[in-house]
């Protein structure tokens, strides 16, 4: 009995979609546009965050040690720094390595090379390059070093030069996260209203039918069932179309985007987040389709 009734509800939904072809196509189209916008916003957020993270990776704090400090003291400092939970990475750069890097960097600049030769000895100091997990943590690492027993070994910390950049970066990161969430929520709400209205308009066309069905004895399950399943099917079709559309677009322009965005490939990003995107779209597409159908039909039963 329950199976027969579900079969009939499902059959009826398919029939409704087919017989109200133009309304169904319009509803699917609106859903596809909305779902695509949400997905694009998600990809844009991913792109921004990845760019910021790659920028963050390029920033570190360099701790320069006095010339006469023994290497073991520097290693001891390195060990202590590694123990800090804020610290992601500490890299030791010896004066020789620093010189090598310097020469490599300015090999095209004869003036610099000449003055370096004039000095006659390696003027560069040993350094520890420290990276932290989050930009605000640099400050506490610097404070730790200044207050520690190693502070006597330290010649300078070039944090203050990077400070402005680090703080700006932190502002952008938190701004993107906050705004991204806000815009997503606003867009989600707009999508919900848009879908609700589409369903409402679609169902209002069959208002008289719903009333007649109730007059001839259809109960709420039998009345709402086909419309809710119809909403779910339309939502599902829209999700599948959206995902296919996104896959094609991101594959087509992916390598071009990847070329100027530090390796961010939208297709790979979508693929690695597939289940989350699919789940969210299903929730929006199917969930709202079902709920709005239920609300719209309920209105006509009063």
């Amino acid at each position: 009995m329950a199976l027969t009734s579900f079969k009939r509800i499902f059959r009826q939904s398919l029939l409704n979609i087919r017989r109200q072809e133009s309304v169904s196509v319009a509803a699917i189209l609106i859903l596809v546009i909305t779902l695509t916008l949400i997905a694009l916003l998600f990809v844009l957020r991913g792109l921004t965050l990845q760019t910021i993270h790659s920028l963050q990776d390029q920033i570190d704090v360099s701790v320069y040690f006095k010339e006469d400090v023994a290497e073991e003291n520097i290693f001891a400092t390195q060990d202590e720094l590694k123990k800090l939970s804020e610290v992601k990475e500490v890299k030791y750069v010896s004066p020789d390595e620093a010189l090598e890097q310097f020469r490599e960097k300015y090999k095209e600049d004869p003036a610099v090379m000449e003055s370096l030769d004039e000095v006659g000895k390696n003027p560069l100091l040993a350094a520890l390059n420290v990276k932290v997990w989050e930009p605000p943590q640099y400050e506490s690492v610097v404070n730790f070093l200044k207050a520690s027993s190693f502070s006597d070994f330290i010649e300078s910390i070039d944090y203050s030069q990077n400070k402005a950049v680090i703080e700006r970066l932190f502002q952008i990161t938190s701004g993107v996260t906050r705004w991204g969430l806000g815009v997503s929520l606003a867009l989600g709400l707009m999508a919900a209203l848009l879908i609700f209205n589409t369903v409402r308009i679609a169902i209002s066309g069959t208002r008289q039918e719903i009333k007649v069905m109730h007059l001839v004895g259809a109960d709420r399950r039998f009345l709402m069932g086909p419309f809710m399943v119809q909403g779910a099917i339309i939502g599902f079709i829209a999700v599948v179309i959206t995902l296919l559309f996104l896959a094609i677009i991101s594959l087509a322009i992916g390598s071009r985007i990847s070329a100027f965005t530090a390796g961010f490939h939208p297709f790979k990003y979508l693929l690695s987040n597939f289940w989350m995107i699919f789940g969210a779209q299903l929730l929006v597409g199917v969930g709202i389709g079902v709920v709005s159908s239920w609300l719209a039909v309920r209105k006509y039963l009063r």
Binding site: E209, M213, H214, L215, V216, G217, D219, R220, L301
Partner: protein
């Protein structure tokens, strides 16, 4: 089976459709309700199926106050009633076959029963050739016969027929009235609202006469007197 107790219906602002109407209908009875247009016949039937609410009074169907039922209880009561609406109320997006099958689906009949019974009832009302037509493709008379077919397909306990012959030629009128009598003989109570004098006089059954919303006559073997 049915009891109207001091039922009054006023459509705002002050159109009085029914005034203090009381009567009872027993199981298996055949009752005609007659009256001029606007006398309250349709309102009376609408109140009985819960499509309108009375301004005062109560209406009972099998000892249940129709207007105190929940939505699903009301749907349950309506599944025991067949109704031929004056404006037919066929579902425009469904074929004639699907319109009639819908009632059987609603009462939970099996697919086999539906496949067997729908063609039979269509043949009974002479619409077997129209099974796959949509209501917009039917004539007035065909609409009316389709509405009758839909109302009787599930052999209801009560059949309400609001002007079921209004759009029919004499030949089909006779057929439909004969059909109503047949259904009644099989145990279904029938309430027929009409202003067709000939039909009422040929039936020789109970007649309730309404005039300006008031019940003015209730005779066991009544005639059409206005």
């Amino acid at each position: 089976m049915i009891s109207f107790r001091d039922v009054t219906k006023i459509y705002p602002p002050e159109t009085q459709a029914l005034k203090d109407v009381s009567f009872e209908v027993q199981k298996g009875e055949f009752v005609s309700v007659v009256g001029r247009s606007g006398a309250g016949k349709t309102t009376l039937l609408k109140l009985l199926i819960g499509a309108e609410k009375p301004t005062a009074g109560q209406i009972f169907f099998d000892n249940q106050d129709v207007h105190r039922l929940s939505l699903d209880q009301l749907a349950g009561a309506r599944r025991r009633i067949g109704m031929v609406f004056q404006d037919y109320k066929l579902l425009p997006s469904r074929t004639l076959y699907e319109n009639i099958a819908y009632i059987l689906e609603v009462i939970g009949a099996s697919d086999e029963e539906i496949a067997e019974e729908v063609p039979q009832v269509l043949e009974l009302v002479g619409l077997e050739q129209r099974a796959n037509h949509f209501p917009r493709q039917l004539s007035g008379g065909e609409h009316q016969r389709a509405a009758v077919a839909r109302a009787i397909i599930h052999r209801p306990e009560l059949l309400l027929a609001d002007e079921p012959t209004g759009n029919l030629d004499p030949y089909h009128t006779k057929d439909v009235v004969h059909l109503l009598q047949k259904i009644n003989e099989m145990g279904t109570a029938v309430i027929l609202a009409t202003h067709n004098r000939e039909t009422i006089n040929s039936l020789k059954r109970r007649v309730i006469t309404l005039e300006e919303g008031k019940l003015i006559r209730d005779e066991q073997k009544g005639k059409f007197i206005l």
